[in-house]
């Protein structure tokens, strides 16, 4: 009988130390919201290469692209929400720097859900009639065994590792997502061999003895291999209910896509105190939550 590891605490750098070249990484969150950016910055600093990145993309994709970490991108969009187009992604995509698997947002979640259930595929009709099928010839259609309908057989998107940022976690890997939308973090974790979480606050397990909180705990602890406490770990993306995305920072980041982003890396990535480098905790706490 093997003994469970029930103290899964580690640092963000330790988590990234578990990753290997060529892995397929799923990244939670959505656009400029709830992204595990502290882990993304650790990957940028690392020697990792040839990654397949699976993401409802925001600046996670843009930074990994400009750091030349991406071999292949599985995506539906890459956007910074308040800034619709992601400049670093656009530069790298137009330069043909990585392969792409571009699919509908609904197909994307079905791919994760298929992997989560150990299925080869799940059927849908999204994708029919579009160039999603042209440019992804490995995605097949099937005839329904029950009618004359044809469906897209969306293949499982299997992940080696999922990386997500949550509001609170305990050392066992239980976690609570306090922002309004839990997005697809659950399905990234289920589709992966191993999931790692960063959290705003590490708490005692007793903090989750709460019927209201339990409604927002979609990831059970045996999916989670490691937990790192990183306050403000989603910045410059938002982490409801604590802080919104940092539009001024994202604008400055976007402006570095053309002339090279080495200055950004030295100013905000290769730093000992990230929070201080971007203006401090009070500044981040004051960022208004997204509204459209």
């Amino acid at each position: 009988m093997s003994q469970a590891v029930l103290d899964k605490r580690m640092s963000a750098a330790d988590i990234v130390g578990q990753l290997q070249d060529g892995m397929t990484l799923g990244i939670g969150g959505w656009g400029a919201r709830q992204k595990p950016m502290a882990l993304i910055r650790e990957i940028v600093k690392s020697d990792l290469k040839d990654l397949t990145i699976v993401s409802y993309g925001g600046c996670d994709v843009g930074m990994l692209a400009s750091a030349r970490k991406i071999k292949k991108l599985v995506f539906s969009f890459v956007s910074l929400d308040a800034i619709p187009l992601e400049a670093h992604f656009r530069r790298a995509r137009s330069a043909g720097e990585f392969e792409v698997m571009e699919i509908d947002e609904g197909m994307f979640q079905l791919g994760l859900k298929a992997a989560a259930q150990n299925l080869d595929f799940l059927p849908c009709i999204a994708g029919l009639g579009t160039d999603v099928m042209t440019y992804n010839p490995h995605i097949k259609t099937i005839k329904s065994p029950y009618s004359e309908d044809h469906y897209v057989a969306m293949p499982a998107i299997k992940l080696d590792v999922a990386l997500c940022h949550v509001s609170e976690a305990d050392q066992r890997g239980n976690s609570w997502i306090g922002g309004p939308d839990m997005f697809f973090d659950e399905w990234f974790c289920r589709a992966a061999d191993k999931a790692y979480l960063t959290c705003e606050r590490l708490v005692e397990t007793s903090a989750f003895n709460d019927d209201h909180k339990i409604l927002r705990m979609p990831i059970e602890r045996n999916l989670v291999a490691g937990v790192a406490e990183v306050p403000f770990g989603a910045h410059p993306t938002s982490c409801g209910p604590y802080y919104g995305f940092d539009v001024a920072h994202l604008k400055a980041y976007s402006a570095t896509a053309k002339e090279g982003w080495e200055g950004y890396v030295s100013e905000f990535v290769e730093v000992d105190d990230y929070v201080k480098s971007v203006g401090g905790a009070d500044h981040i706490r004051s960022l208004p939550l997204p509204a459209f």
Partner: protein
């Protein structure tokens, strides 16, 4: 009828008509200033049961003013996070009013990229949810600038949203949910009511001719014998628009915010 209105107000009111035949409690997805205000006009005049989101997570019990809302408290009536959105899309009772970059004669839309797919000349958002929207839900479109780069000859560069092109479907049959409704532009209203869903001119904005529309369109348009002029907004409609757009963001919808009736 008011005669003192802008092209934006005319187009908003024209666009509200895309919801005229909708189901009583349709979930409308309204992306951008014009689609939102059009939906609000429909909701407050003839479709009180319309459901809509706050653009983030909640079902909104009443419209949310366009633009930065600051401390404005939205009135919630439920939740509609992304996972639920995809379930709603697949069920079908939804009307998506979207702003793609290109559309072609089949009603196929592009939101992904322009040029060689491996290394595109222009990279845009990505296909987003357009593939799923277009085969499951009613779809209408808005183009702020009606020209041949937007309404293109042949097919769009990357077909992100599906259309009425039988060659692209297994067995050549359209999915049951494929149901394109209208295209609103700065010149006119188009619909898909020509033969075999061909794109037809439904109405012309005041002072615009069929020839001007055709000259700015990359594909041949169906020309009915009589083309009505796009209806002028009523004072009631104009009041609804200004109520939900207190900062006059509609003045930025079209370049130079032209008047609704062209100076002759």
């Amino acid at each position: 009828m008011s005669t003192d209105y802008t092209l934006a107000e005319l187009a908003i009111v024209a666009a509200s008509e895309i919801f005229r035949d909708e189901t009583p409690e349709v979930f409308a997805t309204l992306i951008g200033t014009l689609p939102k205000l059009a939906g609000y006009v429909a909701r407050e005049t003839f479709l009180p049961g319309m459901m809509m989101s706050d653009g983030i997570y909640y079902l909104a019990a009443e419209p949310v003013p366009v633009g930065p809302r600051g401390d404005y408290p939205i009135k919630k009536e439920g939740r509609i996070g992304y996972e639920r959105v995809f379930t709603v899309i697949a069920k079908g009772n939804r009307h998506a009013f979207v702003g793609p970059v290109q559309v072609d004669k089949y009603g196929q839309m592009n939101l992904s990229c322009i040029g060689d797919y491996a290394a595109p000349k222009v990279t845009m958002l990505g296909v987003r949810g357009l593939p799923g929207n277009t085969v499951n839900n009613r779809t209408s479109m808005f183009f702020a600038s009606h020209n041949k780069r937007a309404l293109v000859a042949d097919e769009v560069d990357m077909v992100s949203g599906a259309g009425y092109n039988p060659a692209r479907y297994p067995n050549g049959t359209y999915p049951r949910g494929l149901d394109h409704r209208q295209i609103i532009t700065n010149l006119c209203v188009l619909d898909f009511e020509g033969p075999d869903h061909a794109i037809r001119v439904r109405s012309l904005h005041p002072g615009v001719s069929f020839e001007e529309v055709q000259d700015n369109t990359g594909f041949e348009l169906v020309r009915p014998d009589d083309i009505p002029q796009t209806a002028a907004p009523t004072q009631v409609q104009l009041d609804i628009i200004s109520k939900w757009d207190p900062k006059n963001l509609r003045s930025y919808i079209f370049k130079d915010n032209p008047a609704g009736v062209r100076a002759s």
